[in-house]
Amino acid sequence: MAAIAQIQAEGLVKDFGGLRAVDVGQFTLNKGEIRAVIGPNGAGKTTFVSLLCGRFPPSAGRIMFGGKDITAMPAHDRVALGIAYTFQITSIFGNLSLYDNVALPTQRRITLSSERSALKQSTMATLERVGLADRAQETASAQSYGHQRLLEVAMGLALAPKVLILDEPTQGLADSEITDFIALIKDVARETTVMLIEHNMQVVMALAEQITVLDGGRILAEGSPDEIRSNKAVQTAYLGG
């Protein structure tokens, strides 16, 4: 099967004052793949994916989504196109119930006002998928950190996106939760392109089909897990010269 590009970036640059946080020459995310973005702290991973989903504009360069130029498109319109982003720093609606947290992204898709029951059904199905359905009416801020991370992922899933960008989704999860999470993402990836920033190598190796290594804002290496593992430059960046 020939690979079809879902997201492409060309000459993407982001400067914060004098600091060049991201300088990515050429980047392509193919439809249907699971891509891991790894790199040391401060490598520009979050900044890079934030440019893709439109949280802030790039200083230079172009972003294409399914062949369409979306460089100038505001973030909320990109979500409508099918790019969903889940935050690295848990960003949920703490005072609202888990149900309301997930119903909000769900109602983006279900627009007819008569479909109140459809909204409920779809919201509960998403909560079911991440294993939080029995807590639907509890307040989000009262949940454990791991459950809040899962809620964050559920909000992304509820959008039924074409591309799901997960920013360190397993940070703070217990080992048993990580196993469930890997199974969940494998399931999601059957219909969705997944891009995840991840520090946990167990998760990366279990999920990723392709890995992009960022260092100092640049792409240091790209390839299959095996290629990355044996890459000298990557070993140097991670283990120190």
Binding site: C53, R55, P74, A75, H76, D77, V79, A80, A84, Y85, F87, S91, I92, F93, G94, N95, L96, D100, A103, L104, P105, Q107, R108, S113, L119, M155, L159
Partner: protein
């Protein structure tokens, strides 16, 4: 869902039923309550923006005044009849809300407070500047003879009370319907976490503008109704004081609760009434008799008591009265 609708119907029915009782036994409170219902309508509108969307406006008096002047000037100068003038008044407030919102919503937080305050000040000063038409601070009255709709005399206390109640009920039920709708869920989400809401695919600017226009429309309806029912329009209603009042009412009753604005308006109205009518003058007399100190300002310093009430509120019930009730006892309260 059902029980919250029932609760609101019960409140409205209660206000309907006590009318004749009040008129017979407490004519003073009857008149007060008609006024409170109009002001509470203003507070309901303010609450949609402040309580549910999380936007603190310090200039809502401009919308109240837009409704009031839009309506009253047409009656006074254009010699329009009440009903069309009322609707034009509301339209003025909606239009002003759209324009101000389009500009002010580019700012957030303190910036939004200052920009709305400045817009309101310019409206206030405009009302003073054109005193040839508005008669400035002194204001003008609308003659009793023209204050009727289709032969129904709006100056009659009972009619006035029911007219105020109808307006209030419409706005209250609209606000209930709004906050329980999908759009309402988005407004609350913006209040809680705007960045996250944007990243779930909603355009916060559009929703905030929507909330502001609805809020301005209700403020304008209250302003126009005030002019029609109480026969007076004056620049005081455009002053900063009338921008602060709805904030206080809503804070007291419970921001982000549909019935909070009514409760807050009633309590604050009577707090001011008691403080300026008996508590503070009594205190001034007490000080003078026992300590021989003359305190001429004390008798009229009712704002001291209002300030004290607000300090206590912020310390012990920062979510307002109904906000605390919801937190502790009635989680389903809308």
């Amino acid at each position: 869902m059902i029980r919250s609708i029932v609760l609101h119907i019960v409140v409205i029915a209660g206000l309907f039923l006590i009318e004749s009782f009040l008129l017979e036994h407490y004519a003073y409170h009857h008149g007060n309550l008609a006024r409170i219902l109009v002001l509470a309508t203003y507070a309901v509108g303010y609450n949609i923006l402040f309580g549910y969307t999380g936007l603190l406006s310090l200039g809502h008096a401009m919308f109240f005044a837009a409704g009031m002047y839009g309506c009253a000037l047409l009656i006074r100068i254009g010699e329009w009849s009440i009903a069309p003038a009322f609707f034009v008044g509301v339209l003025c407030a909606l239009t002003l809300g759209l324009i101000v919102g389009f500009l002010a919503l580019r700012t957030i937080g303190v910036g939004f407070m200052i920009v709305t305050l400045m817009f309101a000040q310019s409206i206030y000063l405009t009302a003073l500047y054109y005193n040839e038409y508005t008669r400035g601070d002194e204001g003008f009255s609308i003659p009793q003879t023209v204050r009727s709709i289709g032969g129904i005399d709006l100056t009659d206390p009972t009619t006035r009370y029911f007219a105020a109640l109808i307006l209030f009920s419409i706005c209250l039920l609209m606000s209930l319907a709004l906050v329980q709708s999908k759009a309402g869920r988005v407004l609350i989400a913006i209040r809680e976490n705007e960045d996250r809401t944007r990243m779930l695919g909603f355009n916060p600017f559009r929703y905030k503008l929507f909330a502001l226009v609805i809020s301005a429309g209700m403020a304008g309806a209250a302003g126009a109704a005030y002019a029609v029912l109480f026969g007076y329009a004056g620049a005081t209603f455009a002053s900063v004081q009338y921008s602060i009042f709805p904030l206080l009412w809503v804070l007291l009753g419970g921001p982000g609760t549909t019935l909070g604005p009514l409760l807050g308006t009633i309590l604050m109205f009577y707090l001011v009434d008691l403080a300026s009518g008996s508590i503070m003058p009594g205190l001034a007399a007490l000080v003078e008799n026992n300590f021989g100190i003359e305190a001429p300002g004390l008798a009229s310093a009712y704002l001291l008591l209002v300030g004290l009430a607000l300090v206590l509120l912020v310390l012990f019930a920062p979510k307002g009265l109904l906000g605390s009730v919801r937190e502790r006892w009635v989680p389903w309260l809308p």
